[in-house]
Chain length 330, copies 2
Amino acid sequence: MSQGPQFVGLDVGGTTMKAAVVDDRGIPAIAVVMDTLPKRGQEAGLETMCECIRRAVAAANLSMGQIAAIGVVTPGPMDIPAGMILDPANLKPWLNVPVRDHVHKTFGILTAYQNDANAAAYGEYWVGAGRESKSMVMFTLGTGIGGGIIIDDRILEGQHSHGGELGHTRIELRDGRACGCGRRGCLEAWGSATSVVKRTREALETAPDSSLLDERVKKGEELTARVVFGAADLGDPLAVRIVDETAYVLAVGATNMMHTIDPDMIVFGGGMTAAGDPFLEQIRHYVRQLALPVPGAKTLVRFAALGSDAGFIGAAGCGRQLYRRHKGLV
Amino acid sequence: MSQGPQFVGLDVGGTTMKAAVVDDRGIPAIAVVMDTLPKRGQEAGLETMCECIRRAVAAANLSMGQIAAIGVVTPGPMDIPAGMILDPANLKPWLNVPVRDHVHKTFGILTAYQNDANAAAYGEYWVGAGRESKSMVMFTLGTGIGGGIIIDDRILEGQHSHGGELGHTRIELRDGRACGCGRRGCLEAWGSATSVVKRTREALETAPDSSLLDERVKKGEELTARVVFGAADLGDPLAVRIVDETAYVLAVGATNMMHTIDPDMIVFGGGMTAAGDPFLEQIRHYVRQLALPVPGAKTLVRFAALGSDAGFIGAAGCGRQLYRRHKGLV
């Protein structure tokens, strides 16, 4: 039986959105998923968000009157204080969508708005891998690299809603690998799941006979980061090299955060963490090599604990923060 | 006539220490300077700190009883919460020196302790270049590169007193230029005044006849960052290239902070800012090229305003923060 005030967290992605009621301890009820269908336009999108919230409340056997606050999170670029998503690449043709105000007006319930990667980090900080940390930096490894920074229970939003855009910190001085953002040398260009596949393809072109993966690619079968990590587990030298390089790059990203934010904990989340403990150990190995002695020895480096639920749990956590500030509890 | 509570700020460096009384508006009285003489040992060092504080109070025509709080800042590595400097390279043979407790016990006055680069950033945030910003990141360019991050009037100390160690963020993925810290590819290895001289020497070795500076070096005259910047002002192609490279590197550092902290303002301080507005414009040019559109357009990039006073003014500001928390004013 859930206790105390109840919150709804809604995590809006380019393909689907996911919502659930989450209680004051961070424990979620049954989650509901709906298609985002951005092409149907932003009015339809806003209505789908509200419907997803309604369904989540119904799935928890509650009524809207029992909800203390709502949190909605979306990809950027966005204006967090204005509660508005601007011109998101993954949600075309949406433009300047007043997400927070629409949800707030629809339900008449306190509504928080946040960046999805920031919210995932907050979810992990609140009840996941970072639950015992005071400050935490999270990298979410997927198509790109999302980042979130939490210090003393506060999300580092930044003054222009660009706090924690860690995928676009630069780790190559000159030229560098092309990034999806149009720049070069970004962490994302080296450390994302997309980059694992891209670097593997490049390596196969240079030395096609050196890998188990060559035949697979020649057959036209899909090459994914999971396949590359699987081949590395089987000892395929090319895949082993790509995975090792990825661990090194992510350790550079982690180390730079140790020398900037100096958190208690660095967390890696996203699909690539399915590679498991050996990959985590490789990252830790390089962190110890790269970091200054004190943070290198003391900062915990972990994988995320909440999986793809981190987004809506963190969203609900943002709603909870707003509720607690509103009530004068913090 | 100074108003309100009075604070003492003491900035302890490897060669000298500097202290002054600073009033509640951040305006300093006459500063006093004493030799640190670390080789005389840490007991003597602690006594010199106390004497320097006494002289600063006397120079302001005040008595110790009129001082509301003291702030002392030193180079690291340190344990900020413990008020202790650990094993500073610039203050050998000092080891685990209880700076804050000694000063506090000597005077019976509230005493704050902070990292010197953090304090310089706080001084600029309080009453210098960043006085109108909500959040600010400062790089102090000298022998090395110090960093300080201020968000909503709070110094980002980090969990292990390594917050804002921005000189040791990595900007080269592999190998990279050797840094004084023993690592490679650090921002400091490219962007410090020391690096300007080192890169100039390297360039002269490769192409000795290409620069005005060649004759100077052959005569055994001193080569400093100031000399290199001066030669660039005269149009010397080699010096122009070195200065341009330095501006680019500092823009990479600034951009990485825009994508991590996303402050209102980035401030560069230290001796190299004597190069003046053309150098600042070069940094801004590369920032616009390197940063994501919104922070690139909106983040102010400035030179520091307080010069070498930033350290003791910031130290006094840390004392003032402690006093205000103690009085329940914040």
